[in-house]
């Protein structure tokens, strides 16, 4: 419980309506994209950097911890108030300060929804390349908190690559500015880079300078259908070997084809073992040759290959892919999203590994993957009310992580560590690396006030 004094001060800082302390109001802030939950002491939604500073100082005076939160769609338990803490929600810092297409920069507040920024940019024929599948809901602050990926990473990289500078409120309540409006403005250490992907444990981001790009002049979307998932992964390897860098190589297996079909009726054949969505972009005159090469490569193994002819067809394909996570909820009441990545050459083995885990543990797993990046999202379907089954699922999830590490991969390609994967972190990292993380955390936040318990313990 927060004392009346603290609540009163919080209300003075951000205004009455931006403080939540009633049980029902707090409930939603106890959840995120995972199946975990917790209960916040209170929720405060600042609208300016100065308010953030005041809040941090107040919390320091009263020795209260803070959990930063954007839209709360993360898949790592990163916004769960797992310890006694106040949630600081950035959803009311939604200003787009500036869009400067001439100089390839936009300046935004952290609560801006990725999609809303894309809409504004599109008016000027620009875009912000990182677009996680959750882009209609997730915030720029959350994207940078997790260093989110999405379907375009193979060609365009991840959120990290589009962060030019940040305004950050440190755990001591002081404000710093990292980076700038261009590549060349970081002196000393690259503080921008260490804050990106730090899941709110180092600082609160209050302003973001992002790099924006002109929308490519041309784009081609292709679809290849396979009998078996393994076949699709061969096409992926062959395309890369041919020196082509598609923007997208997304894969869904038979289970996902069926659940998304229930949802979207996009017309994917329900008997296909796997579908690969392939997209290339660039100058119009380069499209035909790439499409031709990809078609030749895919057709060697695929049972069907087609090029989307209309914008509607392209939309349909993407609607299927983007609804993948939610669509499985019809099959079983609960699903666990996993996020493992392996070197591209081990992708076929990882697919085999997932099938083996499903068999060994007797669980149902559907696979969506950013195949070009070697990034798999095995979705385990189950019923959370069944304790025994839930236990088995946890074991299966652990087995997936260990399988990825055995294949020289990582336990997180884009969703982050948070609470969910913290327990496996020392399987991926040596003690020296774990200690390096702690050194960094200690430098920023010696008293462990920001998002305590996430990623590492001090």
């Amino acid at each position: 419980m927060l004392s009346q004094t603290v609540v009163k001060r919080l209300k003075e800082i951000v205004g009455e309506k931006n403080v939540v302390t009633d049980k029902v109001g707090l409930l939603t802030y106890g959840y995120d994209g995972t199946l975990l939950s917790g209960e916040a002491l209170g929720v405060v939604s600042p609208t300016t950097t100065d308010q953030v500073v005041e809040i941090v100082k107040l919390m320091n005076e009263h020795d209260i911890k803070l959990v930063p939160r954007g839209a709360g769609t993360n898949e790592s338990g990163g916004t769960i108030p797992s310890q006694e803490a106040v949630v600081i929600s950035f959803t009311k810092m939604t200003k787009i300060h500036e869009i400067d297409t001439e100089n390839f920069v936009a300046v935004v507040e952290p609560g801006v929804i990725n999609f809303d920024l894309q809409v504004e940019l599109a008016k000027q024929n620009f875009y912000f390349p990182p677009d996680p599948s959750s882009f209609k809901a997730s915030t720029i602050g959350g994207n940078l908190g997790e260093c989110s990926g999405g379907p375009k990473c193979f060609k365009y990289g991840v959120t990290r690559d589009y962060m030019l500078g940040l305004e950050v409120v440190l755990p001591n309540g002081k404000v710093i500015q990292t980076g700038g409006r261009n590549f060349q403005s970081e002196p000393g250490y690259d503080l921008t880079r260490i804050i990106v992907g730090s899941e709110g444990i180092l600082g609160l981001v209050t302003k973001v300078f992002v790099r924006i790009l002109p929308i490519p002049r041309a784009k081609k979307t292709m679809l290849a259908l396979y009998d078996k998932v393994e076949d699709a992964s061969q096409t992926v390897a062959d395309i890369v070997a041919a020196g082509i860098i598609p923007t997208t190589l997304e894969l869904m297996d038979n289970l996902l084809i069926n659940t998304t079909e229930d949802f979207t009726h996009a017309g994917l054949p329900r008997d296909a073992g796997a579908v690969l969505i392939i997209e290339v972009d660039g100058y119009p005159e380069d499209m035909d040759e790439q499409v031709k090469t990809i078609g030749e490569i895919a057709s060697k193994i695929a049972k069907e290959f087609k090029v989307a002819q209309t914008a509607v067809e392209v939309d349909q394909i993407w609607t299927s892919r983007r609804s993948a996570f939610g669509s499985v909820a019809r099959v079983r009441p609960s699903y666990g999203v996993n996020d493992i990545t392996v070197p591209r050459s081990n992708f076929p083995k990882a697919i085999g590994g997932v099938l083996k885990v499903a068999k060994d543990f007797g669980v149902t797993i559907g696979v969506v993957a950013h195949a070009g990046d070697g990034n798999l999202h095995p979705l385990i379907l189950f019923d959370q009310r069944n304790k025994e089954e839930t236990e088995t699922v946890h074991k299966a999830e652990q087995a997936l992580c260990m399988m990825a590490l055995d294949l020289e991969g990582t336990i997180s390609g884009e969703h982050g560590i948070g609470l969910v994967k913290k327990k496996y972190l020392d399987k991926e990292f040596t003690p020296a690396a774990m200690e390096a993380f702690r050194k960094i955390k200690r430098s920023f936040d010696p008293t462990n006030r920001f998002n305590p318990g996430k990623i590492i313990d001090l």
């Binding site: 261009n182 590549f183 250490y189 990106v196 100058y283 591209r344 070697g374 997180s412 390096a436 990623i455």
Partner: protein
């Protein structure tokens, strides 16, 4: 007197790899410091033992690719990485390589090209730079608009920490958000977080075609204006650079006027069309001798000319001021700059990286650098940019009159450094403050 235990060092790396006669040492050293010894380790465990020894005896140590900067290591150890120069693995399937830090950049890109791949980062000193130095400095170059800055190409490393432990991090996945991102944070840390002993480097397929378009201009401003035209036409070459008349003679002997170099790396089909578009934009704007270069040898000559000028600028840091503004702000920046410098064409050296909005200036003899940089910074800030590097950051903080923010930033940087190097052993000459 020095505390360095030379005989112990010889035990670690072998007699032949410890040099302590001052005449033999000089070729490994730059700067005015006087280290007691130069040591050339051959493997990671040796680097680790040397650093541990330095800690035990409280001796300062600095590292370099082929030549070590001696600032702050008088009586200490200069570690040269040139013996650790192997390509451990070239993995074409995953588009990565594992290399040792002493490998020369120029040797690496040769091998990478032989494999049909591409490693875009391009250090200032192309002839002497090591891969370890490349990632320790970090930074961007005129190809970064297309390919990203240097850090984009690091996926992991092995590092000997300032206390001597060996840290390994990263993997061959191009997407990896596990733990904190120490991988990219270490880029640019200039040997203060540790000594790279292996680097896991990301590579790209080679572009299908490379072309350049060059042209000369009587007016620097007219030359520069073509960049804005191209950006407005939605043309984004791989690089879009300009060299003023004095420097142009170094880049391409015999050049009269300001030299524009447009580099086009990409596909054959679009490359042809864009080259034609660029050539007409240059010609329409008054460019002379506008030429599309397709021949590989000639292409390399043009690019090497650019690199030569860049190295020239970099050779005299005390006489160089660099700044950035938004790319489209460049015409204003150059016009205002001329009020400070006089005719930029005749200035000792001016280079422009049009896509990055970067300007590098070689100052005339006798210029008060700090006073000049302060003026340039003011100009750049009024156009949304600033002077580059630590100096720029400090000047910026001064303009904001924000001593507080500057203090916060530096104390955070120093705290981080202290956490990793509690005794202050490594790279004492590297300052995190301007």
């Amino acid at each position: 007197m020095s505390n360095v235990n030379i005989s112990k060092l010889k035990e670690i790396v072998g007699e032949a790899n410890v040099i302590d006669s001052s005449s033999e040492m000089t070729k490994y050293l730059k700067g005015s410091g006087k280290p007691a010894v130069v040591v050339l380790p051959g493997k990671t465990s040796e680097v680790s033992s040397i650093v541990k020894l330095a800690n035990e005896q409280n001796v300062k140590l600095a590292v370099g690719g082929a030549v070590v900067n001696t600032q702050g290591i008088t009586g200490g150890i200069a570690m040269v990485m040139s013996r650790m120069n192997q390509i451990v693995e070239m993995d074409k399937l995953n588009l990565v390589a594992i290399v040792e830090p002493g490998l020369l950049h120029k040797d690496f890109i040769l091998k990478v090209a032989e494999t049909g791949l591409n490693f875009p980062p391009e250090p200032y000193e192309v002839e002497t730079s090591s891969i370890g130095g490349c990632f320790s400095i970090g930074d961007s170059d005129s190809k970064s608009f297309e390919y990203g800055p240097t850090r984009t190409f690091l996926l992991g490393f092995e590092m000997v920490l300032p206390t001597g432990e060996i840290l390994e991090i990263g993997n061959k996945c191009i997407k990896n958000v596990s733990g904190l991102d120490f991988i990219h944070f270490a880029v640019g840390s200039q040997g203060t977080f540790g000594i790279f002993t292996k680097l896991l480097v990301k590579l790209l397929p080679q572009p299908e075609a490379k072309k350049a378009v060059i042209g000369t201009f009587a007016s620097l401003h007219k030359a520069n204006a073509t960049f804005n035209t191209l950006i407005k036409r939605n043309v984004h070459p791989t690089r879009m650079n300009l060299i003023n008349a004095s420097f142009a003679k170094i880049a391409k002997p015999g050049t009269e006027g300001q030299l524009v170099i447009i580099d086009l790396q990409g596909f054959k089909e679009s490359g042809k069309n864009i080259a034609n578009e660029v050539a007409s934009v240059l010609t329409l704007a008054g460019g002379l001798d506008v030429k599309i270069i397709e021949d590989a040898v000639e292409y390399d000559e043009v690019i090497n000319g650019w690199l030569k000028v860049r190295a020239e600028l970099n050779a005299k840091p005390e006489r160089t001021v660099e700044f950035v503004v938004g790319p489209m702000k460049m015409p204003q920046a150059l016009a205002q700059l001329e009020a400070l410098t006089g005719d930029l064409g005749a200035y000792p050296g001016v280079i422009v990286e049009g896509l990055l909005g970067y300007v590098g200036l070689a100052l005339p003899e006798g210029t008060e650098k700090l006073a000049f940089a302060t003026k340039v910074n003011k100009l750049a800030m009024s156009l949304g940019g600033n002077v580059k590097g630590l100096l720029g950051h400090k000047l910026k903080a001064e303009v904001y009159n924000d001593a507080e923010m500057w203090k916060q930033t530096t104390s955070l940087l120093n705290e981080l450094r202290q956490q990793f190097d509690p005794k202050g052993i490594l790279s004492p000459g590297v300052s995190l403050e301007a």
